[in-house]
């Protein structure tokens, strides 16, 4: 196939050529970045929490009326006994929060008491000696809390438990040599000793502001006794989640009706928690996907439209070429090559544009740098799209009979 005659023909259709190339360039730039955003969101929303998600549900319990910390703690312990006695329930822990909740108590961790800058941020989870079993966490070093280490904590008290359990991510950050158990760290309220390390436990927030300490969690052996209430994390026996979710609030109300369990989000299975936490990311990924598909379709339609026009315009020339001995294959190849050349120009500009847009997004929207893989994927998609779109008009062109050369109109 000779390229030179194609180029000289294109020079006579500058506007059309330019428009197709530009459309391809813009489409490539948008599609690359959109694919990249989709991938980032999907990676984000498939990050593991480290807990036994299918069997866990959360009860948000709010107390009605006044009460001292001692009274609240007593009521809370009664609730725990009630829940643990239910047949469908495997275990329960009281807590101040749970993974993917969206926010809560975050605190700084220091290695020395007089350090000016914090070593790292961390998520603070309150729990009793059932916390690890309830969430299905994997203890990889040290030990669990002992029942006598669990005490009630009032908001008035400072957070200074004698012992804590940390996640491996936090232990590795603080003690890279892997000997965290037995070491002392400093929370906001004072020194504490690490007695155990769990493998994985995600933070309460998966938003970007919390990403610096995403898996760095601290579990403190405390029941948070405040009159506002708190959360019970419940692990149902396998396959009995629905039954346990129905039975639990009923049993709680039967035991003590002076409480509120919100209709809207007072009782949530962890599946709902997960879908709520990532709703926005999923929505964004779907939107990006739809935009990509529609954009590609419109670009393909544009190529079909413009090429069809060119074929119609050149029927006579095609006829002449056929009469002079060009085969149908030659004509087909001519249009395919022509489109390929335009597409190449388009993707070249588009690749630069995609990188430029990405750099701009990095500064304005805290995005990551575009990886080359997505750029190449986009380029291949658009080149294939161009060839696919041009196929139908090119086939029509190849069917132009040689006799066309002799017709005057």
């Amino acid at each position: 196939m000779q390229i030179k005659p194609i180029l000289s023909a294109l020079r006579r259709h500058k506007a059309g050529t330019f428009l197709i190339a530009m459309q391809i360039a813009l489409t490539l730039a948008i599609v690359c970045n959109a694919l990249f955003i989709i991938q980032q969101r999907l990676t984000h929303l498939s990050e593991p929490t480290g807990i036994d998600e299918p069997n866990i549900f959360i009860i948000q319990n709010e107390w009605v009326g006044k009460g001292t910390a001692e009274q609240v703690d007593a009521k809370m312990r009664e609730d725990l006994a009630v829940l643990r006695a239910l047949p469908g329930v495997q275990d329960v822990t009281p807590s101040n929060s749970y993974p993917l909740r969206g926010g809560g108590w975050d605190d700084s961790v220091k290695l020395k008491p007089d350090q000016l800058q914090d070593t790292t941020g961390s998520t603070i989870y309150f729990g009793d000696d059932h916390f690890i079993d309830t969430l299905g966490l994997q203890l990889i070093a040290g030990r669990n809390f002992r029942p006598e280490e669990i005490t009630a904590m009032d908001v008035r008290d400072r957070l200074g438990p004698p012992v804590v359990i940390v996640t491996k991510a936090l232990a590795d950050k603080l003690f890279p040599d892997g000997d965290a158990v037995g070491k002392t760290i400093y929370l906001v309220g004072g020194p504490t000793t690490i007695v155990g390390v769990v493998k994985l436990l995600q933070a309460q927030s998966v938003d970007r502001w919390a990403s610096a300490f995403a898996y760095r969690s601290v579990i403190v052996p405390r029941r948070l006794a405040i009159s506002l209430g708190g959360w019970y994390i419940v692990r149902a026996r396998p396959g009995q989640l629905d039954a346990a979710m129905r039975a639990a609030p009923k049993a709680l109300f039967e035991h003590n009706p002076r409480r509120v369990i919100n209709d809207e989000d007072g009782l949530l299975s962890f599946r709902e928690v997960r879908s709520r936490a990532y709703e926005r990311d999923r929505g964004m990924a779907i939107l990006m996907g739809v935009i990509c598909v529609v954009l590609l379709a419109i670009t393909a339609a544009g190529i079909v439209g413009l090429t069809s026009f060119w074929v119609g315009q050149r029927r006579k020339q095609i006829g002449v070429r056929r009469a002079l001995g060009a085969t149908r294959q030659d004509i087909l190849h001519y249009f395919m090559t022509e489109n390929f050349l335009i597409s190449c120009g388009g993707v070249l500009v588009g690749a630069l544009l995609a990188i430029a847009i990405n750099l701009w997004l990095v500064t304005r929207f805290e995005m990551h740098r575009l990886s080359l893989f997505y750029l190449l994927t986009g380029v291949v998609i658009l080149l294939l799209l161009g060839q696919g779109a041009v196929l139908a008009p090119a086939m029509r062109a190849s069917r132009v009979p040689p006799v066309e050369a002799t017709r005057s109109v």
Partner: protein
């Protein structure tokens, strides 16, 4: 002439239905996507206090110790009890209010209703006048009530409907956290969005249902919701929140003119210096006085995703327009013969140009109508989303006009190049080749 061109345009569009449909569809998709995202952006970046947002200011002080001090950093976004009360009692603004958020257990008198928690605002008395809250019944409380820690409450219209069947409930008793309160006012529907006066809640949160004096809320130890930032020996102790080195309150001030703003800023500087001399403030003086809209900007209230979507939609519209330019170019040039005849029969270049622009305008109008339908579907989808702002996404008159202007304007713009190219056709050449 216009009607003749319109007739010609319709004929020409009808002749090539697939191409016309493709152009209209492309424009409609581009416009639909742009208008959906633009409407959401418009709603979210709106002025929550039209008319008075220019007079509302949010003073910031830096009462922290020298721990991890860095020069030029923003002061805390809330104030301590001591500073808040000092600024409140100094009364240097036209109006001022000190407030924070919380939740209170409401215990209805009817046995048919279970107790429930309501979002509450604990505030000083100027809140209602300063933010021009509409009252359905009664009124807000007075400064004397603030000082007396009065057990009075203003409730929202929805709470009044729920508890008192929508009737005038002023003078009635409402039990909250085992304490009887006297209802003195019922607000009418009021939902400033964003929820500017306390951005620690969801940025587009609903207005609170219960309003009680801040002093009363402290007296009864009502639970505080929102952010509490402490330093030094502060531990967020709710029992002694008044003396803790923690910021947990919002302070708003109304200042009528620029002179007052400058004077207030000077006052804040002066106040900080004084506190430094007293040994309460340790950092160098660092005061700011952002206005309401500036405050929303500082807090990046409009979600990044929404802005990203808007840019994406306009990129999409651009591709759709380039596509339309290409197709129109093909279409107009294909009719070179017909246009040549018109030129030969005496039509001037300008008339041919006008004729072709009318044709692209028709496409723009059709695309605009299609785009409007798509935008309505798009907004309906947005409203089904779970986010707090979803319910606000409605098309208003200004956005409706924008839709059509954008559609027709951009299509006319897209028609310029093809129409101009088609005018350049030499009639004689076209006639000869036929």
């Amino acid at each position: 002439m216009f009607s003749y061109y319109l007739d010609l345009a319709l004929r020409s569009l009808r002749r090539n239905r697939a191409l016309t449909a493709l152009m209209v569809l492309a424009i409609a998709l581009g416009i639909g996507a742009s208008m959906t995202t633009l409407t959401v952006l418009h709603v979210l970046s709106g002025d929550p206090m039209p008319g008075s947002s220019g007079t509302l200011f949010y003073p910031q002080l830096d009462p922290r110790d020298m721990d991890s001090y860095q020069e030029g950093k923003e002061p805390p976004r809330q104030v301590t009890w001591i500073d808040g009360m000092n600024l409140l009692h100094a009364k240097r603004g036209d109006r001022q209010a000190l407030m924070t958020g919380g939740a209170v257990p409401v215990q209805p008198a009817q046995s048919s209703l279970d107790p429930f928690y309501s979002d509450a605002r604990y505030t000083s008395s100027d809140f209602f006048a300063m933010f021009q809250t509409p009252f359905k019944y009664g009124r807000g409380w007075s400064e004397a009530d603030d000082d007396a820690r009065a057990r009075v409450v203003v409730i929202s219209r929805t709470l009044n409907d729920k508890l008192f069947g929508g009737k005038d409930s002023t003078g009635q008793t409402l039990r909250m956290k085992d304490t009887p309160f006297r209802v003195i006012g019922v607000l009418d529907s009021w939902r400033p969005s964003p929820h500017f006066y306390d951005l620690n809640m969801d940025d587009y949160a609903n207005t609170e249902e219960v309003f009680v004096p801040l002093t009363t809320s402290r007296d009864l130890r009502f639970d505080h919701n929102g952010s509490t930032d402490c330093w030094g020996t502060g531990g967020g102790d709710e029992e002694h929140a008044e003396t803790q080195p923690c910021v947990w309150l919002q302070f708003w001030v109304q200042l009528g003119d620029a002179g007052k703003v400058a004077a207030y800023k000077e006052y804040l500087t002066h106040y900080s210096q004084e506190q430094k001399q007293l040994g309460r403030f340790l950092r160098p003086v660092n005061v700011r006085l952002p206005g309401l809209m500036e405050w929303l900007d500082i807090n990046k209230v409009v979600p990044g995703d929404v802005r990203l979507q808007t840019w994406l939609a306009f990129g999409f519209l651009l591709v759709c327009l380039v596509n339309t330019v290409g197709l129109m170019l093909a279409k107009f040039l294909r009719r070179a013969g017909e246009l040549g005849v018109r030129r030969a029969l005496g039509a001037s270049k300008r008339e041919v140009f006008a004729q072709l622009l009318v044709e692209s305008g028709v496409i723009g109008l059709a695309g605009g109508i299609g785009g409007l339908l798509l935008a309505m579907i798009g907004l309906w989808l947005v409203r089904r989303e779970p986010s707090e702002y979803a319910a606000l996404a409605h098309l208003d008159v200004s956005m409706l006009l924008t839709t059509f202007l954008l559609a027709i304007g951009s299509t006319l713009l897209a028609g310029l190049l093809p129409a101009w190219r088609a005018c350049q056709i030499t009639p004689a050449l076209q006639l000869k080749s036929q």
